[in-house]
């Protein structure tokens, strides 16, 4: 299913099953990444999406520490201290790769050349504001890395996160209470419970998993749209 098709359709409820596992979520996101696109997968969970990309689709992975054509994680003899991803994990190089320095790498990001990035999040607001770099709690030390650059520069910013905190609070919110990473930058939010698309008419629910649209509406403090027709 393409993103465009999903946007136009009514919400598809998969209520009889449980929420997606993180691997299922990664696989679901992989479906939405167009063939031949250039993609940055954020550190942490989004990295797993790489395992579910169709090798025939010709998708090329970017890592902001200076590489296009990044391959899977390196193991054993493949490990090379000079070849790591943004999460500092040893990786491999695919044919057709290219290396470049940090200013060139972020020129690529900021200049809008990446088609897609997938980031984790503490919170996303209904208008697509992203918060993923700082808890804002006193004493917590912030670390922003490349998150603000990716949120601002990538063609499409997708978020992969849990929909609820461990204590059950929604992370898709009317307004972020955490410090922002970027303003109105997120186009889609993928969670274990549902897939959402930010539209001019509000937050559209594309699919639910282990929950109904009605139940979602009760648990989230934002208006939810079901289909754009």
């Amino acid at each position: 299913m393409t993103a465009a098709a999903a946007c136009d359709a009514e919400t598809v409820e998969h209520a009889r099953r449980g929420p997606l596992s993180t691997d299922e979520l990664a696989a679901r996101i992989a479906l939405d990444i167009p063939p031949r696109s250039y993609v940055n997968l954020g550190i942490g969970q989004p990295t797993r999406i790489a395992d579910y990309l169709d090798p025939a689709a010709g998708i090329i992975l970017h890592t902001e520490n200076g590489m296009l054509g990044m391959g899977p994680a390196a193991h054993g003899d493949e490990i090379d201290d000079d070849l790591i991803n943004a999460g500092k994990v040893p990786v491999t190089e695919l044919p057709g790769a290219a290396y470049f320095h940090h200013a060139d790498s972020f020129a690529m990001i900021r200049g809008g050349h990446l088609d897609v990035c997938v980031l984790g999040a503490f919170q996303v607001s209904a208008r697509g504001d992203l918060a993923n770099w700082h808890t804002g709690r006193p004493g917590d030390i912030p670390a922003v890395g490349g998150a603000m650059d990716l949120a601002t520069g990538a063609g499409q910013v997708l978020v992969m996160m849990s929909l609820f905190t461990r204590s059950g609070e929604p992370k898709l919110v009317p307004d972020c209470t955490y410090p922002l990473t970027g303003v109105a930058c997120v186009s889609r939010v993928f969670t274990h419970h549902a897939v959402f698309t930010m539209t001019d008419n509000g937050v559209l629910v594309n699919e639910t998993f282990g929950i109904t649209l009605g139940e979602l509406r009760e648990r989230l403090d934002i208006p939810l749209v079901s289909g754009l027709t």
Binding site: T63, E64, N65, G66, M67, D80, D81, D82, L83, I84, N85, K88, E93, Y99, F100, H101, H102, A103, S105, F106, A107, I109, R110, D129, H134, G139, I141, P142, A143, V144, G145, G146, A147, M148, D149, T152, G153, P179, L180, T181, G182, V183
Partner: protein, 229 residues
């Protein structure tokens, strides 16, 4: 044009108290470990450290911080699982932090090297990191004004140098080295190998010799022996 020097201690000689020191590397790739160790021995204090990270484990930048030599850290990603030295000093108010998005950090360093007085970047708009910065709308998009970061000294790591100081890098160890090499009054590189003038293909030189002041061959290092691997 570089002088080839015999030891890392000789390479870092003369770094003054209160210097701004740019230090290359991302994760452990491209970190000029010999030069940092030598800087710890050299004893300069009151340093402003500009680097992507703020030290891992207990060696390298962490050791420099632990020795009380650093007044301020300018970086994108100070907080990591093993950034305990920075964390402790920061929480004790013993080191100042200027947090800069990774792409703005790279571009500000480039600007210093390229003679750009300041530039407008979209990264960080609408976030707490925009506080105190001039904003401007250009062609309907909001930008922040960012200023150059110039070093008194840059410590970088490269793969090979020729006898003039032309440098090539290896894989993602390239990262900040090439931009930092343009942006400091004195640029000091440790390299794995020094080759004769004429041995590097001029098409593949990443940092031309014009930027490099001192080159030292890195000490052979046992894998895992650096204390942070």
């Amino acid at each position: 044009m570089a002088s080839i020097v015999a030891t890392a201690d000789e390479a870092v000689a003369g770094i003054a108290h209160g210097s701004t020191v740019l230090v290359g590397g991302f994760g452990l790739a491209g970190v000029p470990m010999d030069l940092i160790d030598a800087l710890v021995r050299q004893g300069a204090t009151g340093l402003t450290l500009v680097s992507n990270n703020a030290g891992n484990g207990t060696a390298g930048l962490a050791a420099l911080l632990d020795a009380g030599r650093v007044r301020k850290v300018v970086c994108s990603f100070p907080r990591q699982s093993d950034s305990q030295v920075f964390d402790r000093l920061y929480r004790a108010g013993k080191v100042e932090l200027e947090l800069v998005p990774q792409g703005n950090l790279a571009e500000r360093i480039r600007a210093a090297g390229a003679g750009i007085g300041a530039f407008y970047t979209p990264t960080g708009v609408g976030t707490p990191l925009a506080e105190g910065k001039e904003t401007r709308v250009i062609d309907g998009r909001a930008y922040l004004l960012e200023h150059p970061i110039k070093g008194d000294v840059a410590l970088i790591s490269a793969y090979k140098s020729d006898g003039l100081g032309n440098l090539v890098y290896r894989k993602t160890a390239r990262n900040f080295g090439p931009v930092m090499a343009t942006a400091a009054t004195t640029v000091i590189a440790q390299v794995t190998e020094i080759v004769p003038v004429g041995a590097l293909d001029p098409e593949t030189v990443i940092t031309p010799s014009i930027y490099v002041d001192r080159v030292v061959q890195a000490a052979a290092r046992e894998p895992g022996a650096c204390g942070v691997c």
